[in-house]
Amino acid sequence: MIGSAARLRALSLAAFLGLWWGAALIAAKPALLPPPPAVLGFAWQAVLSGAMPRNIAITSLRVAAAFVVSMLVGSAVGYLAGRSRRADTLIDPWLVILLNLPVLVVVVLCYIWVGLNDVAAVLAVALVKVPTVMVTVREGARALDPGFDELAIVYRLPWRQRARRIVIPQLAPYLAAAGRSGLSITWKIVLIVELLGRPNGVGFALDELFQTFDVAGILAYGFAFAALMLLVEGLLLRPWENHANAWRR
């Protein structure tokens, strides 16, 4: 039955809302901890004025661009590193540097070197995200079955067929995992990048609201955008991951 798990989930969510509401009532400082209706009210006004849809659309575009770039680059480099020991040895120090560089350093340097523009913003997010995609896909490339490579060699399969029928199906679970964790990291970094140097988007809106200590606004934007990303994950990425793993069952 779908019932019991869904009901538990709803109950847990209701408990969260209740706790929040109760705490807001007890604290009785709506400027610091507004109750849920105040947050909903702000969100409604922001939707009506068009500011929130516009900001969320702009941020979503940046998230999408950074996501696509980091998935493409990370997958290609990760595949290479997984297939060739020499490539792996060459790439590894770069990987260590990128993985250990603070996000803030990457963002600030991108803005300084590339300029305060969207290219720099997307580049910064991609630079942060590429290494984790790479590590996941490298794991997948290492796990490729050499027996299927031999099959492709003796039957002289053209590279297109090899990629589509032999390599990608084996990599798909890893690509899906990289994509799913990738999205959740990407959108959080995009907000920081926007806060630091963009004149629009959810991150910029949060910055403005921070200047005026508008907690209701901060919560409204935070929940709205998180809900959108959860929706994308649940409706696009999770079904794709299930599909990629379907043949294993």
Binding site: F148, L151, I153, Y155, R156, R165, W247
Partner: protein, 279 residues
């Protein structure tokens, strides 16, 4: 009955594609000299590096040739290097000294394990290698007793069925050469003799060159035109004996006599492969 003891047989050193380490004629079509026709295998030496980094020689001078319409059976106990020879012939192992030339045309291969892609249906697995002509698929599936399983995934097949699908994959597209690694393994005697008959048909009716490895004498005698016996460490070709039509026509008596002489010369062929490794 001619029984040349040595391993080498007459072989022309035709102008060809000499390969020393990288070692193998390119497996892409068109890479072989058109006049070559048959299969020429000349392995001078093959060694593996063991865990300590030392080279351990597994194959010595091994030379044989074959033409279309012949069934060659590489016969040896397990662990003697049959699979190594097949991998070298197929171009999957290029780390050897010697020269290989393949017949022109399509190559059909059956590995020891089925190697079907689990994310594709049986039909998609077969279509992948069938190229444009997939009409043979239902016919060949019916021939191995698997009619109507096209839409199943390999997970749903028993090992025996999966091996037969792999056999169909090898037979698709009228290959000029069929290479089969231990095709009779774990088959009951009846299925083994059916498979032997099917392979003999592929060779004698369609003109394919069939090269198979086996440690099992009986099915090899049931289809092979020549027995290539491997023995020793490093393994050498100890015999290249024709069995052929003469044996099949002469009936059971001649067959038994041949088998006796074979076993008296190579007693290890009679033993079941209980021990792993060279005799």
């Amino acid at each position: 009955m001619p029984m040349p003891g040595g391993g080498s047989i007459g072989q022309s050193r035709a102008a060809g594609h000499a390969a020393r380490r990288p070692g193998h004629a390119d497996p892409l079509p068109g890479a072989h000299p058109p006049a070559a026709g048959g299969l020429h295998v000349h392995i001078q030496a093959k060694s593996y590096a063991d865990a300590g980094g030392r080279r351990r020689e597994v194959l010595g001078e091994t030379r044989f040739a074959g033409t279309g319409g012949e069934v060659l059976a590489l016969l040896a106990p397990s662990g003697t290097g049959k699979t190594t020879i097949l991998r070298i012939v197929l171009g999957l192992d290029r780390d050897f000294e010697g020269e290989i030339r393949l017949p022109q045309g399509r190559l059909g291969v059956m590995f020891q394990e089925p190697r079907l892609l689990p994310w594709l249906t049986v039909e998609a697995n077969l279509r992948l290698v069938a190229g444009t002509d997939a009409r043979e698929i239902p016919l060949l599936l019916a021939e191995v007793g698997l009619a109507g399983i096209e839409t199943l995934h390999p997970k749903a097949l028993s090992l025996g069925m999966a091996r037969r699908v792999a056999l169909v994959r090898a037979l698709l597209g009228r290959p000029a050469m069929l290479v089969l690694d231990e095709p009779f393994a774990s088959l009951d005697p009846k299925s083994a003799s059916e498979l032997a008959a099917l392979l003999a048909r592929a060779a004698h009716q369609q003109g394919a060159l069939v090269l198979l490895s086996t440690h099992d004498l009986d099915p090899a005698l049931g289809c092979a035109d020549r027995l290539l016996v491997l023995a020793g460490t490093p393994a050498l070709l100890a015999a290249d004996w024709p069995t052929g039509a003469a044996l099949r026509c002469a009936g059971a008596g001649a067959g038994r006599l041949f088998k006796q002489r074979l076993l008296s010369r190579f007693p290890f062929l009679g033993a079941e492969p209980a021990t792993d490794g060279a005799p």
